[in-house]
């Protein structure tokens, strides 16, 4: 997960490396995801999210679809 100057920079970098374009998000979406994802990481009660729970978090910040899928159909 990298921060690029723009979508064009991400595309150019991906093409040079032979990588698929993958997914893009805004820094605001990434911040929203980071806040939710790491809110309880230092708590003794933390446990790893199940695939379904992780998908729920992704959906909360607007990410659904095959790229964000962790559960099996």
């Amino acid at each position: 997960m990298l921060l690029f100057r723009s979508e064009e920079h991400a595309k150019a970098w991906s093409q040079r490396r032979g990588l698929p374009m993958g997914a893009l998000m805004s820094p605001q979406q990434q911040w929203d995801l980071a806040r939710i994802w790491y809110a309880d990481r230092m708590s003794p009660d933390w446990r790893r999210r199940t695939p379904a729970e992780a998908e729920e978090v992704f959906a909360t910040v607007g990410f659904t679809g095959a790229f964000w899928k962790l559960t099996r159909p």
Binding site: M1, L2, L3, F4, R5, S6, E7, H9, A10, A12, W13, S14, L19, P20, G22, A23, L24, M25, S26, P27, Q28, Q29, Q30, W31, L33, A34, R35, W37, Y38, A39, R41, M42, S43, P44, W46, R48, A54, F58, A66, F67, W68, K69, L70
Partner: protein, 150 residues
């Protein structure tokens, strides 16, 4: 919770506490000293935590590589929070360090394409910097195939 789960929980929490206190990853001896445990018990716990993807060990060692969002090694994602410096494993984790440690701080990185310096600033839980786009090359189901690449 059985005994090993209790030890694993205590070790995991202590890893984070020491990471914040020291500004770097603790080694097993430091965790053992802090928790009054044997070092081999701590190393066993770290291996179980790594198997569960609760943290990542440097290959072939009992030493912490990642206690997400923290990175034990320098990365292109330096984080400043309250005058303290850390490294995140990626832009998600770098922002995660800021979120986890109070919600105010800044992340410095470079655009991988043009190498221009970039900065993400957060104040009291609000993003205050502008510009940039975050790119995920690998689909979520494959993040743990090569966690170092992600």
């Amino acid at each position: 919770m059985d005994r090993s789960q209790g030890v694993d929980q205590a070790v995991r929490v202590e890893v984070y506490r020491l990471f914040v206190e020291l500004g770097r990853a603790p080694v097993p001896a430091e965790i053992a000293h802090a928790l009054d445990l044997r070092q081999d018990a701590v190393e066993d716990a770290l291996r179980r935590l790594a198997t569960d993807h609760a943290l990542v060990l440097a290959p072939g060692t009992p030493y912490i590589w990642m206690a997400n969002p923290f990175s034990a090694i320098p990365t292109p994602f330096s984080v400043e929070v309250g005058g303290r410096a850390f490294f995140g494993n990626c832009i998600w984790d770098a922002m995660g360090v800021v979120a986890m440690l109070g919600g105010s701080g800044r992340v410095r990185t470079w655009c991988p394409d043009c190498l221009d310096p970039m900065e993400v600033a957060v104040s009291d839980g609000h993003l205050t910097s502008e510009g940039g786009v975050v790119h995920y090359a690998v689909a979520a189901a494959h993040w743990w195939d090569d966690i170092g690449f992600n």
